[in-house]
Point group: C2
Chain length 376, copies 2
């Protein structure tokens, strides 16, 4: 994997770059749609490519490990072959889901013992095991096994957890570096900065992660309920420390405004369930602001969802029609809103990239943050 920094914004830390993988190039800053169980919910693979213009998607290790399971994925030749998505894939480490979804779970130095939320069966995720699992899934970018601390979190818990995450990282690296990809293409491992909302912990963690000298670095443990300003403060501290010549991935972020602000802080990669989850609840992100499509005001509004966004659904379907489908609980409502929201997110980061290249990012960002946060 090779990251090339192409442009930097003169008035902020925003950067434009390109990340080369064996499954194709990723132009940064980028948003990665979440494909939990090997499917970006309600979206066809063809639509990801041609309407949303996704360049990389996420898979969740926890979900894929439980279903369809590694046996099926390995026989298929990896997740790309299994779901037909030929561009890059990033998998998380499964840690976050183990903590948020699984039943009774026990964290020890060795790893985490948990029960499947599907059938109650008992499993263990260890740093080594999670590397092997992600090798089998066949992600292009593999995440280190970490503990994502909740918010709020006591300082002592955050410190101990961070130290364990660091020890786990060493084991992840050792395992990753002593194994090979299973399907003939390269995989890379990103370590994750933790440290909750404590500056000194974040600093220590970022310095440790930077010292590991991997091909890219991630910032975890944010966007878990803390105020946005706190998230920005931590992100800024961490991006000051992480190396400039490597991509920075801020995990689980966020609203369109969050993404723009964090691009300004030097983040290159984002993922979040918000565009798809909120789509299924009738919330649309548009270039003019946020729409609750259930509102009476859209009942007879036959204008397209958002003609600025270059996806089939955004110009083909009207607000009134989508409102009708949403209220009538038609599956097509989730499909239309999911494609639109993801196309909007990809449009937004694409615009940010253009503005970084043309040197206009900072003033554009300030305007845009207001616009995309407006409730229409």
């Amino acid at each position: 994997m090779k990251f090339t920094l192409q442009h930097t914004d003169p008035q902020s830390k925003a950067r434009a770059g390109v990340l080369k993988t064996d499954h194709g190039d990723i132009e940064t800053p980028i948003f990665m749609p979440v494909g939990t169980a090997g499917s970006v919910k309600a979206v066809h693979q063809r639509e990801l490519t041609y309407d949303i213009k996704a360049q990389i998607i996420l898979g969740n290790t926890y979900h894929l490990y439980l279903r369809p399971g590694l046996g099926v994925l390995e026989k298929a030749g990896g997740l790309h072959k299994f779901n037909g998505w030929e561009k890059p894939i990033l998998t998380d480490s499964g840690g976050y889901q183990v903590f948020s979804l699984a039943g009774t779970r026990k964290i020890t130095e060795e790893g985490v013992v948990f029960k499947s939320h599907i059938d109650g069966s008992k499993h263990i995720f260890s740093p080594e095991g999670v590397m092997d699992i992600q090798r089998s899934i066949g992600a292009d970018i593999i995440m280190a096994f970490d503990e994502c601390t909740p918010y709020p979190c006591e300082f002592e818990y955050a410190r101990k957890s961070m130290d364990m995450t660091h020890r786990w990282l060493k084991r992840c690296i050792e395992r990753f570096d002593s194994t090979e990809g299973k399907y003939g293409y390269n995989q890379t491992l990103f370590p994750i900065v933790q440290g909750s909302v404590y500056k000194d912990l974040r600093k220590r963690s970022a310095e440790f992660i930077a010292s590991c000298d991997r091909e890219g670095n991630a910032i975890g443990g944010l966007s878990v309920g803390e105020p946005a300003e706190m998230m920005y403060e931590m992100t800024e501290m961490v991006t000051d420390i992480l190396p400039e010549d490597k991509p920075r991935y801020l995990m689980g972020v966020g609203t369109p405004a969050n993404i723009l602000e964090c691009i300004a802080l030097g983040v290159d990669m984002f993922d979040c369930v918000m565009p798809t989850r909120n789509a299924r609840n009738g919330m649309l992100f548009t270039s003019e602001g946020i729409i609750n499509i259930r509102n009476e005001k859209w009942k007879e509004d036959f204008s397209p969802l958002d003609p600025v966004i270059n996806s089939y659904v955004s110009s083909f379907y009207s607000k009134a029609y989508l409102r009708h489908l949403t209220i009538s609980k038609e599956i097509l409502a989730a499909q239309i809103a999911s494609i639109h929201n993801l196309a909007f997110y990809l449009w937004l980061v694409g615009q940010a990239r253009e503005k970084i290249k043309s040197g206009e990012f900072s003033s554009w960002k300030d305007q845009m943050v207001k616009k995309v946060s407006t409730r229409l």
Copy 2:
């Protein structure tokens, strides 16, 4: 509307024709996907056109009348403009849903008083009202307001109901013929043969319907639980009486085998929720037979769903992937299976049409009925 009979099968009553409407031509025999509330469930309009190759879709008057309601539909300029489907639309009369879905309802000579299944509000459907509603929806083909008798049904009830349906038909015709389309294109009214499973009633009804001399005719009250042989017997009797130079629409039918058998009996048009409803339950209709995609046997079958069917999903997605999505309750499972099943139904009637044209229909039909009924 103009129907041209192009070919007739020498060994059966099967026919190939073309039905010209202001929204385009329909090649018969044809299957019409059901778009209950203005959306064929889980299917984009673009997919209907390019993957499924639908030539006409259905809308349900009952559903559309309640939601989005006539005010919205009229302001949109009719259902075509509202949902973006530019080809022909047929609407049912709403009678079937009033009887099957609505709460307390009372049938009188005047019409049916019913309560909405959505909010309990009280409404009346009369023959005249239902003509006006379908004028407002803007369907190309409008159905007469009838009572669809259940199965089994006492002879006396069936007789009285049929007589009332005939009286209602006169009122429908009078209203329809004294009004005009609202959106600048022609609409046409199909009357419906009733009479339950009683030969003499079916004969009387078919003769009465034929005597009304409309541009097309429908057969209702079948596929409501009676044995298939009884449905075929009634259909055969009725198609012997209905005029040859007009299209014949068998309402609510059916399985792939039912459709092939009824094409052989001289039916030209079909609709059924089966391909989409069963898709949502994991049942696939394929050119080799029926698949329950949940079965363990598909777990590691990475072959495409059905490469014979010329739709994106049928060749792009594998059985193993669709099984995984179905078991994981992913929305994409319903999307894939719905598109595939509808594309299969359209492929099947398209094949039937080709075989009628080449004079091979009867022998092909016998083979195909066996094949499409096989459980794989």
